[in-house]
């Protein structure tokens, strides 16, 4: 990447200077005994009793949770939790390596969505322990953003935590990505004059993001979807699939296509890469339908560089990078999703909310063009538009 060594040096220096990218500040000054009596003892005891009742006559748990969402940080606090098993493109580097990313995410939560978020990184990568730990620490939080958990464990972890808690839980690598991709694809279809639901979409990558994108597109009515893992197109004949890929084989690939990426791309309307750098060529773009859509989202080095995709005939190219047009980034999504969930005291983020969020995000681009199918991260009103969908 251009200037990457320079950015690396600057980033390291900044992190050293800051020593942590977030700060905790009191919402109310504590300057004298009168403040202390309200913020802490004895006044706080009245709030504790209001929420919980007394030890003899405790209020029902559900009622306590609702009251905590009015009178405590549970009203506003999101936990950004990772086990460090799939951090950025760096892979399984563990909790300490994951921490700067989670802090960064907490900073973006505030900057983009006015959401208070705290980073939590786990010293375990055992699914049962992860699930138990997250459930055990949930009471103080109004929502849980799971982040950088590796597939396929991420699917079970999210499902179990979501089932156990009545606060919104979202694995952002799955659903944040899927919502952003869906929004961009809606506008890309519009620009290339395609009927969204009738597109043939090829998704390269069957991990957290690829799986969630496939499922959200299916929910939105797209029927002809092929998903590839490193062994090729996922289909019912393959014997090497884990449970989650077996499910993909059942719900995608209605024609039973077999083979590699080139085979899959024949006549495809759209390619969505959430896989590996430099894994696609211009010649492969030429195999697609005319004026195809190419989302090469591997980051920082995409499946195919935009100039090469365009040379292969792509009508629209999107990446995860800020130095090319059409940056598809989760930061368009997660601040608004949790802002909306908190505003509306939502207990689960449903499929319908995700679809609506994608539609709202797409609609922010009034007149989509080939170089503008998705808002830039610093445009106004993004989190607000997404938040409106989460209710």
């Amino acid at each position: 990447m251009a200037k990457s060594p320079d950015i690396s040096k600057k980033a390291i220096a900044l992190h050293k200077k800051l020593g942590g990218k977030i700060r905790i500040v009191p919402a109310q000054t504590v300057k004298n005994r009168a403040d202390l009596a309200l913020v802490y003892t004895p006044g706080v005891a009245a709030v504790s009793t209001l929420i919980a009742g007394t030890k003899q006559t405790k209020k029902p748990l559900e009622e306590q949770q609702q009251l905590a969402r009015e009178y405590t940080v549970k009203k506003r606090l999101i936990a950004v939790i990772s086990d460090g098993s799939a951090v950025l493109g760096l892979g399984n580097i563990g909790p300490y390596g994951a921490l700067p990313v989670m802090e960064g995410k907490a900073a973006l939560f505030k900057a983009f969505g006015d959401v208070d978020a705290v980073p939590i990184v786990l010293s375990t990568q055992q699914t049962d322990e992860i699930v138990e730990t997250i459930i055990n620490i949930a009471p103080a939080f109004g929502g849980i953003n799971l982040e950088d958990f590796a597939a396929p464990q991420c699917f079970e972890i999210e499902a179990r935590v979501k089932e156990a808690l009545n606060i919104p839980v979202m694995h952002d690598d799955q659903h944040g990505t899927a919502i952003a991709v869906y929004a961009a694809l809606l506008n890309a279809a519009k620009v290339t004059k395609r009927e969204f639901r009738k597109m043939r979409v090829v998704i390269s990558g069957a991990g957290a993001a690829g799986t969630a994108i496939a499922k959200l597109l299916l929910l939105g009515g797209v029927k002809d979807i092929l998903v590839l893992d490193s062994k090729g197109v996922i289909n019912k004949r393959r014997k090497d699939l884990n449970l989650f890929k077996q499910e993909l084989a059942t719900i995608t690939n209605p024609m039973g296509v077999e083979g590699d990426l080139s085979k899959a791309l024949g006549g495809a309307d759209a390619f969505i890469g959430v896989s590996a750098p430099n894994s696609m060529t211009s010649d492969q773009v030429k195999l697609m339908d005319t004026h195809p859509i190419v989302f090469a989202l591997a980051n920082p080095i995409p499946e195919i560089m935009p100039e090469d995709a365009l040379q292969g005939g792509a009508a629209i190219v999107a990446t995860g990078r800020s130095d090319y047009p059409n940056q598809i980034n989760n930061s368009l999504v997660f601040p608004g999703v949790f802002r909306g969930a908190l505003n509306n005291k939502v207990s689960k983020i449903t499929d319908e909310m995700k679809l609506k969020a994608a539609q709202n995000l797409a609609a922010l681009v009034k007149h989509p063009t080939a170089e503008k199918i998705i808002p830039g991260p610093f445009e106004k009103g993004i989190a607000k538009a997404v938040a409106k969908a989460i209710k």
Copy 2:
């Protein structure tokens, strides 16, 4: 308590208005792509790699932890953790009732010690689960303040977490209280012209606070200590003691005293109450040595009201209340302890540090008098003085 209903109403209204007593703010603004590239991707990847190495060549865990204490929030973030099993005087009201207290504590951490602290409340009260959960979430934190865990489980929980982690772990109800009491007692001995180590000290209450006070006084060289639980003086002949009280029976009560509070108080120099409201009378104060010291710390209603203690002949009276002289409060201690631990990258808080912290706190009162044996919570330099001891 005077005006208590009024304080309760005001506290409830304030908590409703605030919806959480802390906020999370970015340490660095994120206003444009250049900011984003340093705080988040791609720049953050360099910091992650600096800390963790790569997935192929991970750095040793110890080295990762040290680097995280320089480049991440681990440098500054304290978790204030409770299971809600012993909240204030309210007892076992659970995590939701505990949350406003933990938030308040987080606010005080910042106000008094410039320490960034986040409240975590647990939905489990099982010792094994608590220990595992705290260990699992520890990587993001530079220290753990355990709070309002009930005795005797609190002893095992603290010991096991402390053993497992190489960041400071302190159960404040034990050690924060013990340090504050020790400091006040040092000055009370000075004012009443007693030799500190030769005092006979009676501690009413054998829970978290009473046990820790007894142990810290022993460490400081006080030899004649009696501890009482609800059944009377703890001694080796009693058959009803749990493991922790059996230990107290071994290390205190060298004369093998048996009996109730009145029996224990005969000739005592100091009484320290960390037990139940209204559990001591003026007549019992009269049983003590002349000019005795009375710390009645049950809160908000003390073991004996100051006016009654004085009537019984007490030379010095301290309580946990802000509306009487000599308020002994943990807020004098915990912000400084963790400020010092963070400043000096301390991995364990040792007994020596606690003693030194108490001495530093006592020394802040240049000329102790009967009505001034301990600094008020809003005096300057308290956290700094305590912090100097934690290295």
